[in-house]
């Protein structure tokens, strides 16, 4: 941790964009949100969503390390909350990434690749999406992180 509280302030928008793009690059499977803190001007709130509970601590440590190194010398400090899949599903469903079958179905619809059989298959994927999402192994996410 390198925050000293009195460093020269650096452009806030530039910092938040860098945080978002870096988090998206390092954790492509976990949606990230970066926003101003509700009450402290030097804290930037960083939220990461839909992390498998088995990988929560490991991902959290990596996010701390990543944000601290990105914010070093800027005068800002990251306030980090990492939420698991269940909490994301309950309270922040808009941050649930599409399940692999749902994503595939969306691509098929978008690209108009659907034959009669394909349409039926895509519908099946979309109807199963929630179920399939729950079946994704935590190990898969941990490895991705």
């Amino acid at each position: 941790m390198v925050f000293k509280g009195n460093s020269a302030m650096i452009d806030y928008d530039k910092i938040t964009k860098t945080l978002v793009s870096t988090l998206e690059m390092v954790f492509p499977d976990f949606p990230a949100e970066v926003k101003p803190d509700y009450e402290d001007e030097l804290i930037i709130s960083v939220n990461l969503f839909a992390v498998p509970s088995e990988a929560l601590n490991e991902v959290k440590h990596k996010v701390y390390s990543l944000c601290d190194s990105l914010l070093e010398g800027t005068g800002y400090l990251a306030g980090i909350v990492v939420r698991d899949i269940e909490r994301t599903r309950l309270y922040y469903p808009e941050f649930l990434p599409p399940s692999p079958p749902l994503a595939l179905a969306q691509v098929m619809f978008q690209q108009e690749l659907l034959t009669e059989r394909g349409y039926s298959q895509a519908n099946h994927y979309m109807s199963q999406a929630t179920y399939e999402y729950a079946q994704i192994s935590g190990d898969d996410f941990a490895q991705a992180a």
């Binding site: 941790m1 925050f3 000293k4 509280g5 009195n6 803190d37 509700y38 009450e39 402290d40 001007e41 030097l42 804290i43 709130s45 701390y64 400090l77 306030g79 980090i80 909350v81 939420r83 909490r87 309950l90 309270y91 922040y92």
Partner: protein
């Protein structure tokens, strides 16, 4: 007086837990630590109010300096996590549960006692 308020927050935390008011408990738990740190900053670090609205970051910054200098029974991230728990409790959409709060209690108490002892030295 801040030490009295910190103690009051610690008791309020325990009462909130008994009443299963977990979001309020998280908020009180954080303030039972924060107010002791704020008092320590004023008494031992000659902390003066800063015009920038950043009291929590300022306290974390001061604690960071001593964590860098000496071995401590807690880490800086323990304090940061406690603060973010309180952010969730006070501002975010999600409801906290008992386990999430209880996990932070031992270290919060260690932090509280450590700073109280430092103030009295």
């Amino acid at each position: 007086m801040l030490d009295v308020k910190a103690e009051e927050n610690w008791r309020a935390y325990q009462n909130c837990m008994s009443e299963r008011c977990y979001n309020a408990a998280a908020s009180r738990l954080y303030y039972s630590v924060f107010q002791v740190i704020f008092l320590w900053a004023q008494k031992k670090k000659n902390y003066k109010d800063n015009p920038v609205k950043s009291i929590h970051a300022e306290m974390i910054g001061l604690v960071n300096k001593i964590v860098d200098q000496q071995e401590m029974p807690f880490t800086l991230n323990d304090l940061r996590e406690l603060r973010e728990l309180r952010r969730v409790a006070d501002y975010e959409r999600d409801m906290l549960n008992r386990d999430e709060i209880v996990r932070h209690e031992p270290l919060a108490n260690i932090m509280r006692m450590w700073f109280l002892k430092e103030i009295q030295r």
